[in-house]
Symmetry: C2
Subunit: 396 residues, 2 copies
């Protein structure tokens, strides 16, 4: 891996081959064997004369000369996560983590708002940012969307996001949706002093994303959302270089890179690339989610998103999928802090007393978690939480 | 899948739910069962009450309303290849193909040069474009690179590319490399009338890619290369919108999306996304390659790249990895044409008579394939090919 992805030569080049190897060759700095398996994980493996009925797994640490890469996030990706996935001697390969030098922190744009900047814009401190997603995902007109937003802001949410499946379709033009939604958010802010953050999905070409960002900003909006894998590192970078708003990073498509346990990326590694191009909020799924990810993986992802890297001191992990008050205790126990977004769909809209009950129940669940009081006990004198447990508790 | 990725509602929305479903719901238009397996392919599967010891595989065709997506390649990706990979009821899911409506062909930028435009620039018709890759991948100074280019153009190659591992490092600044390389290519063109195409790796931010494109163009260069997965769809689109040169698409990182057979993408689907943002040449690996991909998959990929889609009539598949004259017959038999790039590293540099022998041998191998004469027979009166078979034939 170190050779293939750096200065390994298969032909003689006139002159300084050894010098070149010394300066530009990547170095294996550690190998921790993790046992053997009888079967190769993935097809295509060929270990040549070393063919065996046993395949050794190992954690390998490789150091690349920064001089090979320079400070370039896309080129970093090619170097550490390029052809390596298809190397014949490996029956599987997964990028577990990346450490970047301090120069990446000072030269990359990095997140502009992060935890504190986002909290400041919403005006919520000392608890998770409670949010939700517009559903149905597609099909609502701008006015229908705004009407749903009205219900949600009145229910007390801090944050709302477009579903990733809506961007700029003919039936809900981006500009029209922003105008309709921001009118509701403005009115609510005028009445209550609270400006709910709405993440508008700007996913599109560079010009489209930048223009849509400007539309949001001019309308008084406070967040833009982008589908990271659809746009790519350089697209997000171009948005960030132009942006005056927090960038909400949606990771749809992530499953293709991660679901096979011995291939692709661990989120610990992957999320760093997006922070280095300036994303402020990163989706991490949620405990007991409706997708295929294990709780262990969700926790590791969220912890990684909160951990400092060159350029930022940790950003906001976004929990969603099947979330309600139920997961507050375990989420809090895993992170030891409340610097996160906690998004619920059914947990808010499906509450027996309506969305306001749903939002209250979520807040009460988190109060219980932070006070270290069992949910059932806290529910005794917290009506919304109690009703929420009656409605959703049977899922357990 | 159709519901999750379109208008499926898990809560009642006031008013026209049925109308919304009718207009915006994706439709399953075909299911072909492919047998059952006893084990789930990937972890995380939960089929609820239908839990069974048997998992059914099927090819499923889903039609999405174009109104949900509009004409947007990144948003198309979110719609057809977003959260679907992590759906609990599926023990594996792979995007096999995508059909896009004609509007994508007329509204997307699409490839600017393709097969004929590239052939025109190089001046090679009626046979494959024979090329090679600068090695070692990293570490050569601009002058050392230029010196190697001199050897290669004198050997008779049509095309040379930067390795994907070099972009703009401190020891070989992009501008300096272009200047040094183009000086050699210019001199060769002046002497012989043949302008060899060099694909300079412009991978970087939008501004960097566009500026580097201009540097190449102003120096008389005829191609730019980009690491597709590192840059992303929107980055490539931004380059294409600015570009006056063919875009050579390198797919490093592709293994992470494809090597698990029941996850991610089939290249048949994936390559279309890149053509819709304007890539002219797409890597497809090669027969009997040094990576993990099967010959069957390589052939399917190359055929897909040559097949028309809205916006282009097929572009150039780029064969590389362990290629020499040996694979010419089988490659020609699989495609039935010579509209391809055929890149060899060791097959050129490692030829016993030097690079000129290597290039001659490749050309002779393709002459034999096109004339339907067995390689060994053609080698009888073609020295370079014969020597090449003596040197590399033992690999078989």
């Amino acid at each position: 891996m170190a050779g293939e992805q750096s200065a390994s030569t298969f032909v003689d080049v006139p002159g300084e081959s050894e010098e070149l190897q010394r300066r530009h060759g990547a170095e294996v700095v550690g190998v921790t064997e993790l046992g053997t398996t009888a079967e190769p994980t993935l097809p295509g493996v060929d270990q040549g004369s070393e063919t065996t009925s046993e395949y050794t797994r190992a954690e390998v640490r490789i150091a690349y000369p920064v001089e090979n890469v320079g400070v370039s996030v896309p080129h970093l990706r090619t170097t550490v996560a390029g052809n390596v996935f298809e190397m014949q001697p490996l029956s599987g390969v997964r990028l577990m983590d990346i450490d970047v030098p301090a120069a990446y922190g000072s030269e990359c744009p990095t997140p502009q708002f992060g935890v504190e900047g986002t909290r400041e814009l919403i005006g919520v401190h000392d608890r998770p940012i409670i949010g939700t997603i517009i559903k149905p995902s597609v099909g609502l007109s701008p006015d229908e969307t705004a009407s749903l937003v009205e219900t949600l802001v009145e229910a007390g949410v801090d944050f709302i996001k477009d579903d990733e499946l809506i961007a700029d379709p003919p039936y809900s033009r981006f500009e029209d949706r922003v105008e309709a939604v921001m009118s509701v958010i403005d009115d609510h802010a005028d009445e209550t002093g609270k400006r709910v953050m709405y993440a508008f999905n700007v996913t599109g070409s560079v010009e489209e994303m930048r223009r849509r960002h400007d539309v949001v900003k001019e309308a008084g909006g406070t967040c833009v959302m982008v589908s990271l894998n659809s746009v790519g590192l350089v697209g997000v970078l171009a948005l960030r270089q132009h942006s005056d708003l927090p960038i909400h990073g949606h990771r749809n498509g992530w499953g293709a890179l991660s679901r096979c346990p011995q291939l692709g990326f661990e989120y610990t590694a992957y999320q760093k690339l997006w922070r280095l191009v300036g994303v402020d909020h990163l989706h991490v799924n949620g405990l007991r989610n409706k997708f295929t990810e294990s709780d262990e993986s969700v926790v590791a992802s969220a912890q990684a998103v909160q951990r400092p890297i060159p350029g930022d001191d940790g950003i906001l992990p976004v929990f969603s999928s099947g979330q309600w008050a139920d997961q507050a205790h375990d989420t809090y126990a895993a992170l030891g802090n409340v610097d996160l977004m906690y998004l619920a769909g059914g947990g808010i809209m499906g509450h027996p007393d309506g969305p306001a009950g749903g939002v209250d129940a979520l807040k009460q669940g988190w109060e219980a978690a932070m006070a270290d009081v069992p949910l059932a006990e806290y529910a005794e004198d917290h009506e919304a939480l109690r009703r929420s447990m009656e409605a959703f508790g049977t899922d357990e």
